[in-house]
């Protein structure tokens, strides 16, 4: 994918040796993980399922905040609705695992009209506006007699499966959902939508002025994020079986998502995955300390926002010019093997555009 520019003084490169190796390794790891339930202990399978769900949440929150510039503290609305939809559908006779997927699809459909007016809000108004949506969704779900208010209910349909089968199926469902969403996001971000979203994030007016259709691009990412969070909620109900509205619609989920993305690296593709692994590890180590752990999470998120806004992976990328999953471009000055100023990373699609020949822009 190396294209010499018109001036000949630098080249535009997307894939590097490191990134090809990383993508191959990632694919290999995903295939290996698919064997998990056959090889690993029950406890480890459960834990990995949790990790995958965190991964989905982090990826979805980052797509929204890191790429479309939409900071939401109300994604628990979709998480809770996804779980609720799964429980409701299973109660109506849909078998358990299809109900998880169908529930997430229904929530995505519901999120489209919500996006129509929430996306007109800016910055902090959008953030808390989404929180209000989550609160309202919580209250409305409580009205359903099936849920029995805060007492909650269970996904009884899952009792058709033995505990071992259930564990394995839920694990695979979580792994496949995470992998599919991650690759979908990867190709979306490399394509037109990614370029549009990042341009909007960096400057909405400027993006609109060069012909980017701002609202449809934002809406696509909003609906995708709603779908992902709903799927995560449905999977969570499949692992824990009980559905208590208070737990599912808790703002805590937003806190977790923000922590994972801020620490991992907001606006980077690899960051949220790293953040999910870190969060998972920290939870395993300190989760038992309860309040102290939560104070630590809040303080860490705050310190990262203030002192290290790029997050860990953002710093790595910035310092080393390393991008393992190539969604940006690499501009190499001089010829490819002689680099006087080193590789210069251009993350923003808008910033890259002038240096990129039109043919290349269309392809990514």
């Amino acid at each position: 994918m190396t294209t010499p520019s018109e001036t000949g003084s630098f080249t535009v490169q997307r894939w590097t040796g490191a990134s090809i190796a990383a993508v191959c390794l990632l694919l290999g790891a995903q295939l290996l993980l698919a064997l998990g339930p056959l090889l690993l202990s029950a406890n480890l399978v459960d834990r990995l399922t949790t990790l995958f769900i965190y991964g989905i949440l982090a990826l979805m929150w980052n797509a929204l905040a890191g790429y479309a510039g939409l900071v939401s503290v109300g994604q628990q609305a979709f998480f809770g609705l996804g779980a609720y939809a799964a429980v409701r559908l299973a109660d109506a006779g849909v078998s358990a695992y299809p109900a998880l997927l169908l529930g997430a699809v229904l929530v995505a459909l519901v999120s489209a009209p919500i996006s129509a007016f929430m996306l007109r809000l800016r910055g902090g108004e959008f953030a808390i506006g989404m929180w209000v949506v989550a609160e309202l969704a919580h209250l409305l779900v409580n009205l359903d007699t099936l849920v029995q208010g805060e007492t909650g209910t269970s996904l009884i349909a899952l009792q058709r499966y033995t505990a071992d089968d259930r564990r394995a199926y839920t694990y695979w469902a979580a792994l496949v959902t995470m992998a599919v969403l991650a690759w979908l996001l990867f190709f979306m971000l490399r394509g037109k939508v990614g370029a549009a979203a990042q341009a909007i994030r960096d400057n909405e007016e400027a993006a609109a002025s060069i012909g980017i259709r701002v609202l449809p691009s934002k809406r696509l990412i909003f609906v995708l994020s709603a779908f992902g969070c709903a799927a995560a909620g449905a999977l969570w109900v499949a692992t824990s079986i009980t559905f208590q509205p208070k737990t599912y619609f808790s703002v805590q989920w937003s806190a977790y998502m923000i922590f994972m993305v801020l620490v991992g690296g907001i606006g980077t593709y690899e960051g949220p995955i790293l953040g999910a692994v870190l969060f998972f590890t920290i939870e395993a180590l300190f989760g038992a300390t309860g309040v102290t752990y939560l104070i630590g999470l809040g303080a860490t998120a705050m310190l990262f926002a203030l002192l290290l806004p790029r997050g860990i992976w953002g710093e790595v990328e910035h310092r080393l010019g390393l991008q393992l999953l190539p969604i940006g471009y690499l501009l190499k000055f001089g010829t490819a093997d002689r680099e006087p100023s080193g590789p210069q990373r251009k993350r923003s699609a808008a910033a890259t555009t002038p240096a990129t020949p039109p043919t290349d822009r269309a392809s990514g």
């Binding site: 900071v71 007109r120 902090g124 108004e125 808390i128 409580n142 703002v251 303080a299 860490t300 926002a305």
Partner: protein, 299 residues
């Protein structure tokens, strides 16, 4: 008659929301920052008052004499350490940092005070339930009336501060254009820090009334933030008088909602918030269009 009563109780409740929201509205108006720790800070003030009242048997309203300056100092430090840095880093960063702060505050309070719900009601003699009865069995509580009066007084005070004082002029200048304000000799940093301190003083008062009228626990903050935010948005972000109107609309909606359905209190509040949002987005344009058409016809 029951509806008239609900309406009046709603207006009084709205006074509390306006009181709660005026600091949020003030900070948004001056710095364009929405402080997600707003509710949690009100709860911090409530706990401070609780400690003062419990240890020395001091009436919460007298306790405010000590707590208001403490909260002002806290606001100043908050601005210097957190808000200033976040605002420089972009418009999204303050949301994240203040959200993190809210989590830290809520859980620290839990760590220190435990899960017990508290109230300042035992420390205010009979003020909590004193009332006047109007014809038609409409009961006017003295505390809700006092809350509404304090809310109006604070809003008038903030308005006068902005309109009449030198500090107010500096705040307005820095709010409009901090860079130009700097050019004419205004220290925008100090002005913003002072504004945060002023907002935290109102938060202290709001915390006092929250704790006197009801119970609170370490995790009450986020709910209060949502109420305050709804009042601000319904009234029109950044406008102080709008905040009073917004608070009253929210209070009336909740009060009427509670009369319709047992779960209706919160639902009605959220629904009115979303309806106002929708109306503002879609009809504001339409209304402007009508005015423009009228003007051209008249001209």
């Amino acid at each position: 008659m029951i509806w008239a009563n609900q309406l009046i109780q709603g207006v009084l409740l709205g006074g509390y929301y306006a009181l709660l929201a005026c600091g949020l509205s003030f900070m948004f108006g001056v710095m364009r920052i929405i402080n997600l720790a707003h509710g949690s800070l009100a709860v911090v003030a409530a706990y401070l008052l609780y400690v003062v009242a419990e240890r020395w048997e001091i009436h919460p309203l007298i306790g405010l004499v000590a707590v208001v300056p403490v909260m002002a100092l806290f606001g100043w430090v908050l601005h210097r350490l957190v808000l200033e840095r976040s605002a420089r880093a972009g418009e999204l960063v303050p949301i994240l940092s203040t959200f993190g702060l809210a989590i830290v505050l809520d859980n620290s309070l839990f760590d220190r005070f435990g899960a017990d719900t508290r109230s300042l009601a035992p420390y205010i003699d009979t003020l909590g339930y004193d009332s006047w009865t109007l014809p038609g069995d409409i009961i006017l509580g003295k505390l809700p009336l006092l809350t509404l009066a304090v809310a109006v007084a604070l809003l008038v005070g903030l308005h006068l501060l902005l309109a009449r004082t030198a500090l107010g002029r500096r705040i307005r200048a820095a709010a409009q254009d901090p860079d130009t304000a700097q050019l004419v000799g205004i220290n925008a940093r100090a002005v913003y820090a002072a504004s945060t301190a002023i907002a935290m003083m109102t938060v202290a008062v709001a915390g006092a009334f929250m704790a006197m009228r009801a119970t609170f626990d370490p995790y009450t903050g986020p709910q209060q933030l949502i109420f305050a935010f709804e009042a601000v948005v319904i009234g029109g972000a950044g406008s102080l008088w709008g905040t009073l109107v917004g608070g009253i609309v929210l209070g009336v909606a909740q009060s009427v909602g509670a009369q319709i359905h047992p779960q209706g209190f919160l639902i009605a509040g959220h629904v009115v918030f979303l309806v106002v949002l929708l109306a503002r987005l879609y009809f504001a344009h339409g209304i402007r269009h009508v005015f423009r058409a009228l003007r051209t016809r008249l001209a």
